[in-house]
Symmetry: none
Subunit: 147 residues, 2 copies
């Protein structure tokens, strides 16, 4: 993780669909070298993936919930991730301390949609039961990826 990697990350955070030529230009590398670096950053886990930023307004997803999930057995984080990554309503997921196994932040169009999405979560692999808290109003939200 040096200044070149930082340049690559900055570029790809700004536009995940940038070509290797563009990334390389930003980092002072040839396209091939840029690809090797980026592949390495993904493989090492420094970059977890690439995603689209969807406008919640146009999807009209303004119902939020925090959902604690309790699992049967001892699922590994990898198993949990595999079960959750295909549910687009899950915008954040992490394993936590305490009684619950994981905490999810979910985003849905409305309460029926949220209920459906939570049912999908409950239906996946190791999930036993869930405990949800519905968001009534957002007080503040700070951007937290500064590159």
């Amino acid at each position: 993780m040096d200044t070149i990697d930082e340049a690559i990350i900055r570029c790809v955070v700004r536009d995940a669909r940038a070509t290797y030529a563009e990334i390389g230009k930003e980092a002072g590398l040839s396209p091939s070298a840029a690809k090797r670096r980026l592949d390495r950053l993904v493989k090492s886990g420094a970059i977890r993936g690439f995603t689209a930023i969807v406008d919640p307004q146009s999807l009209a997803w303004h119902t939020e919930a925090y959902v604690e999930i309790y699992c049967t057995g001892n699922p590994t984080p990898a198993e949990l991730l595999k079960a959750l990554e295909d549910i687009p309503e899950v915008v954040d997921a992490c394993t936590v301390s305490g009684a619950a196994d994981a905490m999810l932040h979910m985003l849905a169009a409305d309460i029926p949609h949220l209920e459906l999405a939570i049912q999908r979560v409950r239906a996946t692999g190791p999930v036993d039961r869930t405990e949800s808290v519905i968001v009534l109003s957002r007080l503040l939200s700070r951007p937290r990826i500064q590159v």
Copy 2:
């Protein structure tokens, strides 16, 4: 915005670097038609952009917690906001249903820093007590534009 657009969004949320052939396969379109649709979604603002998901561990502040706060009396959302906006460790805050008055998402450098920040939360205005859940590992995080 129809079922085809939704399929495209689902695909590109999962992997922003997917090729048009992959996107089209998922949406039942030819690569060219997939490109036209995706370009339209970007142009219309439904998709704000594409970004890389950077591992929070590589960021300076990598200790996270979800904190439920319970208040004395009936504080208004505005009062809660006023009390919390000066604590930079609070990256998300919202009022919620259930026993708690609000749910905070907090980000700190380490456990001692987090403890200090939670103490500051507890010390502010209407806050009576807190109930914290420490994040052990992040499973996934989808960037989203907040409203």
